[in-house]
Amino acid sequence: MRSKSAVTLAGVSALALYSSMAVGSKYNLPEPQSIIAQEIYDMHIWLMWICLAIFIGVFGVMFYSILKHRKSLGYKAANFHHSTTVEIIWTVIPCLILVVMALPATKTVIAMKDTSSPDMTIKATGYQWMWGYDYLQGEGEGISFYSKLSTPRAQVENKEPKGENYLLEVDNRVVVPVGKKVRIILTANDVIHAWWVPALGIKQDAIPGFIRDTWFTADTPGIYRGQCAELCGKDHGYMPIVVEVMEAGEYTQWVAAQSGASAVKTSMRSDK
């Protein structure tokens, strides 16, 4: 009885240690900041455990065999070469495991694809090599700006020390309010790009001439960074995405500040 509880305790503490190590560490997905990212995170951990169990099972048997069934130990080879029962069993069991894996995934896929009734809509356009954002609907409607890498060239060329957010910082961040469903509409101006913010659990290709959409609801205020995830030419590595999530009040102030500034930017654009 005592040994059993000791085993349980060891198991629980190992699990806790593993989970605490995993969250926010560089060995795992970034700490999830939306419900979808959370589901993805949990699903990944869960599948890793299944894989680990299968791995130990299969290679436990194989390495036992490798250690024991050696010619050098004088082991004589048996001569069996098939068993229909065994073969049926090890076809059916993987099928069942796959069903267990597929069920939660299906639920999440359906949730991810549901871009209906958003609180606000932002269009993101991929350019070689920057992003353009247009706030199409909801609070902040009409705001429009470009967002470019702000890391100085000298850092890339190793002439200056690299900062903490090296290659993951931009001049104009995408600002959204916390807890609101934000629909992102994507397209591109030249080649295919992809809009990816890992902490929010979204990645969607931006395809020239076509519209795609995706959504997120950020759980907590903060700054979340991502990068273009589809090879788009020379500076593919230099078009980051930075999303700043604000409290509702702060966001309203930001929108007010923008309406003056964006008028200037819009006129600059029409000058071109």
Partner: protein
Amino acid sequence: MAAVHGDAHGHGHDDHHPSGIMRWVTTTNHKDIGTMYLWFSFAMFLVGGTLAMGIRAELYQPGIQILQPELFNQFTTLHGLIMVFGAIMPAFVGFANWQVPMMIGAPDMAFARMNNWSFWLLPVAATLLVSSFFVPGGAAAGGWTFYPPLSTQGGLGVDLMIFSVHILGASSIMGSINIITTILNMRAPGMTMMKMPMFVWTWLITAYLLVLVMPVLAGVVTMLLTDRHFGTSFFNAAGGGDPVMFQHIFWFFGHPEVYIMILPSFGIVSEVIPTFSRKPLFGYSSMVYATASIAILSCVVWAHHMFTAGMPTVGQLFFMYATMLIAVPTGVKVFNWTATMWRGSMTFETPMLFAIGFIFLFVIGGFSGVICAIVPIDIQVQDTYYVIAHFHYVLVSGSLFALFAGAYYWIPKWTGRMYNETLGKWHFWLSMFFFNMTFFVQHFLGLAGMPRRIPDYNLQFADFNMISSLGAFGFGLTQLLFLYIMINCIRSGEKAPQMPWDGATTLEWTHLPTPAPYHSFEKPPIVK
């Protein structure tokens, strides 16, 4: 058996063929052509490997040091194309040329002259591909998948790549028709389909896949060519086309292609494991059915490469389920190999080590494959280093390790000489160590958010990239050891015994002398 040997030696005087370079240019002998395929693919492996060293050298530290971003993209693109089309595929065709006729008791390939041509197209294609580095604008830089519109933007290098792919495709189609015809028509009397060695079975199925999908690749690169030069708009939205259609057509080729590169490895491993376990392959018929199921399923899973391109929910779910299903026949294969080893009488010469290494690492690649098949997780890991780690686990520790296993296994039969066993084991253990050092950490890089195909990265990725680069340099150098072992074996290896592996049961071991004579099985053996 003595009578068979006497017969084979009796034909020794028929070995009249031109000597010097003309022997190789004009040869129609499957062994000569197989040898050329293998040397060609190894040369390409070194070229592709050199490009990989360049990539890893640039990624050794954050910041741009060695390769400017344009050149970096050319390196990644050509590394992929050369390794897939120049190294792995021709190497398997080389094994097919050497082994298929000897394993089914045939004198040669069915179309001996076409065989010569399908080989000699390869150096032409490789020259086009490699020389594209030196044309204005440099080599293609749109990734080995060359998605438009990016690949529409490229210069002359892209056109050279397109022609190169055309020629490689023609070569592959001819090679695979030859293999199919040989296997279906030239088996020794008594060798029914279900008595064929597993290597022959896997190649038969692979060859059908090649005939099915290479024309699709040829079609899609032709469409790209006409988009680039003749004003068509297949992939240009401004003219009514769709860039995503390219991806659908490309991956309809590309996914079966993945299995084209792995099914013959399954075949090699299914020969090596029983030999060194001294026990027949477990579940032969389920192995055949599993291979066929994998091939069929591989044709209906292509869009799992495109989960982030955007498709209807039903589409995502269909491709997710179909992809997951592939784990079942693949699992059956792994279980069958384990059962073959179970209660065998195993020895661990280099071929067996590479075969076990193959199973061990391929299963890890299979697991990460299942993870990638799950749409929501794939949304996170698509186009990151996680995917790079995944497909190097199936292509390097998968295909390449199986090729090494096959090379060590059959080299005594081909040359009549033994390789140096100690060095062979060193080659295995060093490869195993450096491979994992290079690619295991890339799983973490991908999960933490490092995209693929970038020349520079945030400081949080620095330490894993440094480990990965050091591992890659070690892995690259280790492969020079393989070259040394092979040359050493051919030039001055110890004479191989008639039966170097006591557990081998296929025709080339039981019915032919070692080394195999230039012309073998002029009279077919009788298989009971």
